[in-house]
Amino acid sequence: MSFLLLIEQVLNGLQFGIMLFLMAAGLTLIFGVMGLINLAHGSLYMIGAFCAAAVAAATGSFLLGLVAALAGAAAAGALVELVVIRRLYDKDHLDQVLATFALILIFSEGTRWIFGSFPLFLNVPDFLSGPITLPGGIEYPLYRLTLIVIGLLVALGLYMLISRTRLGIQIRAGENDREMIAALGIDIAKLYTIVFALGAALAGLAGALVGAIQSVQVGMGEPVLILAFVVIVIGGIGSIKGALVGAILVGLTDTLGGIFLPEALKLFLDPSTATSVGSSLASMAIYILMAAVLILRPAGLFGARA
């Protein structure tokens, strides 16, 4: 295994992690501020991808598709918050899980009803397609590099929003003590709708960006949702910084584990057994990571509450 291949794989892991961050950031915000477990977050990811595919097909512009993904997912998020989620804040987590699971089914079959059962086409725009050569002679797809840059910009933007703006202060206050900020005259219902729509928009953005290199189909959000939950548990529930670190850890573990475990096992097993055992172990790697983190820090890496 050459050094260049290693660098390329690290980039792959980073890119995967950054996309997970977009999902996990919304999930952790919603859980942190509202105490709500939202299983339907994966559906918002799917809605983003479908909006982008439909608008990109109609207008021929990938950028308009991205705008549509942000707007569509945010609108769906706000609507869901107003109609369903609002009734769940003072219920226990089991009720929330049941209701948001029902939302998954409704969104999936609704999407099938509108778009049909066959996957949609959404491609990387021409100006971002193909590989570029990085210093050192690594050929790397330009689109994946762009994803890393976009993800880091979003992380920076979120950090500024939370730490420097009035809305950010309200969000942080809402995490700590919701009765108190309601008593201070802040419209907590409006704040919740805004946070939910923001989280939904981030999920929609991730869906659209990833949809261009994967398949845009019903049910695409659920596998990502599971990984996003792993990320926020590792990072500490409610912490944006934790979501970023957790996402990159999970991305790197998953990508590098898939390569190095089979290679390492080949040292003392025959190749085909090593491949098969290594692949099985690699798919467990992130869960082993999660278990290890929870043993050492039960609240997650940056979790405030135990």
């Binding site: 390329e8 794989q9 086409f121 397609s129 050929e139 290199i213 994967q214 049910g219 085909s272």
Partner: protein, 378 residues
């Protein structure tokens, strides 16, 4: 008196015809919701098209959605056998669901006609007189891909498939007919959608060709990322990543890729021409191989119904075994284990107008049976 004789003759004729026209009840369990719904919908639509064309009022079809879950498929099968009293079951797409349903329904004396799944366990030791597979044994298309790679002169293939039983069958099938070196052999996670790490390994491996089996959305993701990675090696795969439902979502990334299938819309026979036209007229889209399998399954059933009464299991089984129907694949016959013996073609992905589709290049394997028939003691 003359009147009486005529009446008696008429009554006799009526009773005779009612023996022949014993109604047949078919239970179709297939995937109509969730991620894999495109396949089940195509099988159902192909099947119902043949039923509609036949206009046979003695055939009643009940369709249910298994949601791609084995436990639901088992519940539906129990319901269909016990309360709906169906005579024939069909429709299952996925091998793990077939393994959960088929052995139990055939043991209860029902017929099962598979329009898709062909797990090796049901072709070899687990074969059953009442189980007929109209599509293929799972390994077949991969074997054809291996044969194509050998004929083309590939010497160093990189092969990958998901880490589950059908994925292992796929790589086994490919290796059974391919005789070059392997630049790499990878099992990916089932349902994986990001292949950046695998693509980097392919690039670094020095392979001269790539074989992959990644059905459904996994294949769409792989092909788009492959095209974007700048790797320029020839790709071979089974038709499951290149069927009519998927190609439009892959787009240009699939153009020129060789894939293997037992069916294509340009197989030149009158049945196939009529099928492709009728399917387009009825549903407004091109049929996929799955639709052709559903269509053939229904026509096989109708041909047996014309010859025997379904209540006479031995006669009906013999009628099915004859496979006396016009298949969209041209010649069609069953081997000793009730799996098809058929030609498998190499196709190339092309663009016709705005639509991506396949055209046949050549036959990769002719009159091809499966590797498990010898283990079947039937």
């Amino acid at each position: 008196m003359k009147f009486l004789t005529m009446a008696a003759a008429a009554a006799l004729a009526m009773s005779l015809s009612s023996v022949q026209a014993e109604p047949v009840k078919v239970g179709m369990i297939t995937t109509l919701s969730g991620g894999g719904a495109g396949l089940g919908i195509d099988v159902r639509d192909g099947f119902l098209l043949a039923v509609k064309q036949a206009g046979n009022e003695d055939l009643e079809v009940i369709v249910e959605d298994d949601q791609r879950k084995p436990d639901i498929a088992v519940q539906l099968a129990d319901k269909m056998v016990q309360s709906e009293k169906v005579d024939v079951l069909t429709g299952i797409i996925w091998s793990n669901l077939a393994m959960a349903v088929v052995p139990s329904v055939t043991a209860q004396g029902k017929f099962y006609l598979s329009p898709n799944a062909g797990p090796s366990a049901l072709a070899g030791k687990g074969c059953h007189p009442n189980y007929f597979n109209v599509a293929w044994q799972n390994d077949n298309l991969h074997e054809a891909a291996g044969a194509y790679a050998k004929d083309t002169g590939y010497k160093n293939s990189f092969i990958l498939a998901p880490n589950y039983p059908a994925g292992k069958d796929a790589l086994t099938g490919y290796k059974r007919f391919y005789d070059g070196e392997l630049a790499g052999e990878l099992y990916t996670k089932l349902g994986q959608t990001d292949y950046a790490a695998e693509l980097a390994q392919i690039r670094a491996s020095g392979a001269d060709s790539v074989f992959f089996f990644l059905p459904g959305g996994m294949g769409i993701s792989f092909l788009k990322q492959y095209a974007d990675s700048g790797i320029d090696l020839p790709v071979v795969g089974p038709a499951f990543s290149f069927d009519q439902g998927i190609l439009q979502a892959v787009g240009d990334a699939a153009l020129g890729v060789k894939n293997t299938s037992q069916w294509n819309k340009d197989i030149d026979n009158p049945t196939n021409k009529a099928f492709v036209e009728a399917f387009q007229a009825e549903y407004g889209r091109l049929p996929s191989l799955y639709a052709s399998q559903g269509f053939d399954t229904a026509n096989l059933l109708l041909s047996a119904m014309a010859k025997a009464d379904v209540k006479d299991a031995d006669a009906f089984r013999a009628a099915l075994k004859e496979a006396d129907f016009d298949s969209t694949r041209g010649d069609f016959k069953f081997g000793s284990n009730h799996h098809p013996v058929q030609d498998i073609y190499v196709r190339e992905v092309i663009k016709e107008g705005d639509v991506f589709t396949n055209k046949i290049l050549a036959a990769a394997l002719t009159d091809h049976a499966d590797a498990y028939a010898g283990d079947c003691s039937m």
